[in-house]
Amino acid sequence: MIVAAWICLLSPLAAALLITLLGNGISRRGAGYLATLAVLVSFVAACVAFFALWGDAPHDRSHYSTVWTWLQSGSFSAGLRVLVDPLSTMMMLVVSGVGSLIVAYSVGYMDGEDEERRYFAYMALFVFSMLLLVQSGNLLLLLAGWGLVGLSSYLLIGFWQERPSAIAAAKKAFVMNAFGDATMALAFFLLIQHTRSLSFETVFARAPGLASNHWLVNLVALGLLGGAVAKSAQLPLQTWLPDAMEGPTPVSALIHAATMVTAGVYLIVRTHVLFELAPKVEDLAAGLGAATLLLAGLIALVQTDIKRVIAYSTMSQIGYMFLGAGLGAYANGMFHLMTHAFFKALLFMAAGLVIHALAGEQDIRKMGGLRGLMPRTYRAFLVGALALVGLPPFAGFFSKDSILAAAMHDGWYGYLLWSAGLVGTFLTGLYTFRMLFVVFGGEPSAFVREHLIRPRRHGHVHHGEGPFSMTSTVAILAVLSLVGGWIQFAPLWTPVTRWLDVVAPTLHHAEATSWQEGISSGLAFALGLAGLVTAWLVYSRRRLAVPRLPFAQRMLERKLYFDEAYDLVFYRPAVGAARFFGRIVEPFAVGGSITGLARGTRDVARGVSEAQTGLLRNYALAMAGGLAVLVVVFISVR
């Protein structure tokens, strides 16, 4: 089992190194196959680890393996250490499983792209980083994986490095993530100071002893929450995620489905012991999740870029996971993470098929009527959309509703979060099906006709709706989005909750009763359906007009002015201060002091050199004078 875990971790790294080192020695397609194979090997290894763990007794399902002590300082030591337990195997399965499908999909999507090898090396590195993050057996290694995920996302978002917007988006993602990394690192320093350790079992064993120090536990939880919020693109660090759509579509799928944004949820679940010591921070996490899911749902209503709509839906769904994890319904959050990985990857990859067919166009206003032209893509997208909205029997229904049900147990705050989640469901139905009807419904638009109908008439045969590697992976994900939710149907059938129970038991106040599950499911289903029907009336049947609210629309199109606000609050003062120091302080204090020193030395030297006249008699006089002075001194001193 341990060997399988190491293979799972190192196989993508090996692929990344191999592709990098071989350079031109490997064909472009070969690099794609190699990366796919490596991630697939990871998946198989993860399955082996999973089934091995399955065979263990439930209370004996945590296995650590250390191969090398990295740091040793007094009683503190941290090593290259992996942990195999129910939570990490679940993440390993999701990351490597969905990851391998996405990498395989990229083989078709990136075909003919320049620098495919670099792309696949980055993809393999990304999967490795995420696996390191979820498999690490101590917080230090987790932070290393955390940083590597940020690095690989930076590399992949900026993959088309000739586009200034891609570079800007990559930098934005990196800076926002670095902020989270920093708060996390600060929390870890506090933990080292007070628990003398960063390994999971020691920290979690000693942490309850710190509970009396409210400041400390709150600060630690806040630091961890800062990291989670930055990585998972929740309020108030959410602005990087929509911009990250500048990367290739499979990268978006990878960031949104398998890696990266789910890391925040994983972190909260993994360190739930620390969060439970700080209930206020937990409530804050749940509140941030609820606020994000509403905000993202609203913004998604007016976006016109197909990938951005899906990106906002990710933010919104991660909001649900934060809501669940913040409430203490860890298993429900993780379950939603898993189903979300399926249908979000599906949506992105189906959107990728559309974008691929339309020569890179992403504006939904130019699309339309694709239903008849790309019927299988339409069906896949429909499955993804239904799963996203959470209509039975699709995956989202089972996972999202149990999160909502968990909120009902938590007093008035819980009801607030619960209603936010329900409104979010309506918004999800609305924006998802707005996108679906605009892209696939109606008559083919002029743009679509130009790209899809005319080439056919002229004898350019389109091979189905995309290369086999793309269509087959989309098909697999479509099946998973349908059946993936069936593994748990709370409260009747809860294997995921039981599986995670040893690592992160659901808090008592987040355990929903049957009637709460029933009410939540019913209402969420009704509201999701209402959103769907509204979208159908507005965008397909055109019975209802879009309400004219120019102010609100502008607000949402500008993403509620978050970018502008950050620009005003952080960027401008920083630039202004830099300019002030550059113009006023630097010439005098920093550079000035150095050049002043040099100039002073030179002036003194010039003055002194005046004494050296070259006149022999001056020197002789100086010597005679000196002698006379010495004589006088000697005589008088004696």
Binding site: E610, G614, L615, L621
Partner: protein, 106 residues
């Protein structure tokens, strides 16, 4: 006074030595011809030698005399170098004037 001095007191010798030294020093300071400067230098050295020898007699041991011999040797070699320089300068048709030889100016 074991060795005893025939003639005047040691202070007279010192007076002559000081006179010689001052004359030489004035010559070094005031004259512009390197030849005369060198000459004046020799006078200064001889003044110093006279003082050394006078003290040696006064003290009654030979150390001062040996020191004077060493000074003479140094003076001789110094004159060789100095005269050589002067010859070299005049060979190049440069002015024999210490005020004009000021290439070492800082």
């Amino acid at each position: 006074m074991t060795l005893g001095i025939l003639g005047p007191e040691v202070s007279w010798y010192l007076a002559v030595a000081a006179f010689l030294f001052a004359t030489g020093a004035l010559g070094v300071l005031l004259r512009r011809s390197p030849l005369i400067v060198l000459l004046s230098l020799e006078i200064m050295l001889n003044g110093a030698n006279l003082a050394l020898i006078a003290f040696a007699r006064h003290q009654g041991n030979g150390a001062g005399q040996i020191f004077a011999l060493a000074v003479m040797a140094v003076a001789a070699s110094e004159v060789v170098v100095g005269l050589g320089l002067i010859v070299a300068i005049s060979r190049r048709n440069l002015d024999l004037d210490v005020d004009k030889l000021r290439t070492l100016r800082g």
